[in-house]
Symmetry: none
Subunit: 200 residues, 4 copies
DNA sequence: TGATAAGCGAGACGGTACGTCCGGTCTTGAG
DNA sequence: CTCAAGACCGGACGTACCGTCTCGCTTATCA
């Protein structure tokens, strides 16, 4: 189909439209401040000043610090994580590396902090981008099962939380600098070693 | 050996001694509020009111929300994690279960949030109790290497962050209720499967 | 004369306007607490609680306890002290009575305390309302000189401080209950006796 | 009685006696700080530091800031106000001058502030030294009545509060520098003019 | 002479109040 | 309906100080 464009059903609301440059400026300011001061040190007031706008303009777009941070951090297109080259070992390393970058970096830490700080009732709901990525990882593991690369009956979600959790915790505990490519290979290898299809 | 370690031989500092009941009341109030409102919703003011004391009394004991939360959450004696029965599979499950309890519970989430919310420079330094537990886990894994239960040359710290990270992330994503004993066995099994000594 | 002074033609400043009910509540709370506990026992915290608002709301309006108390106490329109009926004796009694009410009452005491407690450099600057009243008294005395009711060359400000000071000190020393109409007549009479025009 | 001395019934209490040098040091520090920062700016902590002692040592002697200030300010022997030379005009000026010095000086202001700031119930009770002086003034006026220098039936206490109140208020309003000997003569003259015996 | 008692400097404690920051809301005036 | 500008309300912050208490010691009176 040709007229497949216009993936925006935006009903063209009345009134002055939002200034799209503000969205970018706010996100950029958020990331910069997050990197500099962490989640606890981030304030709407500071973001507004840094982005050259005002608090109400931010509140019109995001209703809380948590939402702002999550979107700013996980804005990734998600496509760049593909991790499906056919080589499971390589793909696993890519996933671990992605987890490290996203969860282990200062802004990732901040996003997690925002997620965890919420009141207990308000569980998961990470954010669409993040779940998208995890869905892709999940698909890759299911494919590996089909291909016989790893054992049948495995819980694929466990594979995800193992590698992502390890990445998160390792940077939180040992610092970013302590985690390098060797670490990535080690973790990827240890996990895959436990699930190889050629084992049973 | 006598090891008559005479109760620390406190040097009897000058000044009025602290009221020990306040320590307990503050910690109890912190845990209660953490469970109810999460890390973000915790304030020194509220803790003070709930504990029947005042903010300065808390600040004299803990210099920040992070410190207060970490100590309140990880006050465990540490001894109850032993996890050294000789049966590696059982011990691994115990460790995972401990991680789940400590990191996956509402208060555990809150403690992690506090850890992660800090500005980037201020890395790990979790808290003495937590590192104590991890040291014990580490010792158990080294022992397993010596006994040939798991392969030589393994990085024991990776084993720790894998199981603890998985526990943490799984509860954060799927909620406490979704994580049960089956999950514990699965994770413990998957990790050990990748490192068994009888494999090489 | 039209004098349609159109209510100040407020320039409609930017930003949210103040809640006028808070002004009243704060002043009322201040007077109530002043009457109950005196100047020393008055705190911004207590005023805020009693007025059902918060400290910042008070600080936005008055920058110090002294300012708050002075305005709360001397909010009088000033017009009700007229004291110019043509009968000097009666007018003098009216002035003395006003001084008693304003300076001798519990809240008046408190206002004076606030005035006097300031560091030495920060002299008088009583408050606009108070100086307004004194200016009116001054005018009345000057008129009396012109009419020959009292001697020429008199320092009118001395007349003011004598009656006001006496009122203030008498209540401070003997208590409000000890000061009645007889006292007012006596003081008014003694002062006027010393300055009558028919004397020279 | 001759052996009128020994106005000390001190029962020679047990325990270590108080260090008399501390009394003086504390009073001196109080006056110095009062002059420098006013009543509101005076703190026990500062007095203790300035006097080279500690807070408990001060609290053992005076139970409140008010008590400390009043005693420090009105410690006068009282004898030096004599004001009884036989010349009523001169004596009156002496009294006014004394009032000015004691009530109008920075420390006097501070003492008054302390007096007035108390909760309403806690009325007068100035301090023994101050009432002593006022009693002497009172005696002088009664004598003047007996001698026929001033009219009979006058309320002597009114004469006192008039001159003292005027002195207090004048310095509070116009500042110390604005009040000089001319002012003293004027006030003394105006009061006496109203009460001379040769008038009736 | 030894016991008792109150004083001392030092210094931390529990708690009141302070003065400020900032999160979230609201208003104006313009686009 | 948005924008910038900006003030508002109120929750919470981190700190200063008050008045009290405990310590280890000193200095007196009393037994």
């Amino acid at each position: 189909m040709v007229t497949e464009l216009l993936d925006q059903d935006v009903p063209a609301r009345a009134g002055r439209p939002r200034d799209p440059r503000l969205d970018d400026a706010i996100v950029a300011a958020t990331l910069a401040l997050l990197e500099e001061r962490g989640y606890a040190g981030l304030s709407f007031t500071a973001v507004a000043t840094h982005a050259g706008t005002t608090k109400p303009a931010i509140y019109r777009r995001w209703s809380s610090k948590r939402d702002l941070v999550l979107e700013a951090v996980f804005r990734t297109q998600g496509d760049d994580v593909v991790a499906n080259t056919g080589d499971l070992d390589a793909d696993m390393r890519t996933m671990v590396r992605w987890s490290l970058e996203k969860l282990g970096s200062p802004v990732g830490r901040a996003a997690l902090a925002g997620l965890l700080a919420e009141p207990p009732g308000t569980a998961g709901t990470p954010t669409d981008q993040l779940t998208l990525v995890w869905r892709r990882m999940d698909e890759r593991f299911r494919e590996a099962i089909e291909r016989g690369e790893i054992r049948q009956g495995l819980d694929t979600s466990s594979l995800i939380v193992m590698q992502a959790g390890a990445a998160m915790l390792a940077t939180a505990l040992y610092g970013e600098s302590a985690i390098d490519d060797t670490w990535v290979e080690r973790i990827a290898g240890m996990i895959l070693d436990g699930v190889r299809g050629d084992r049973g």
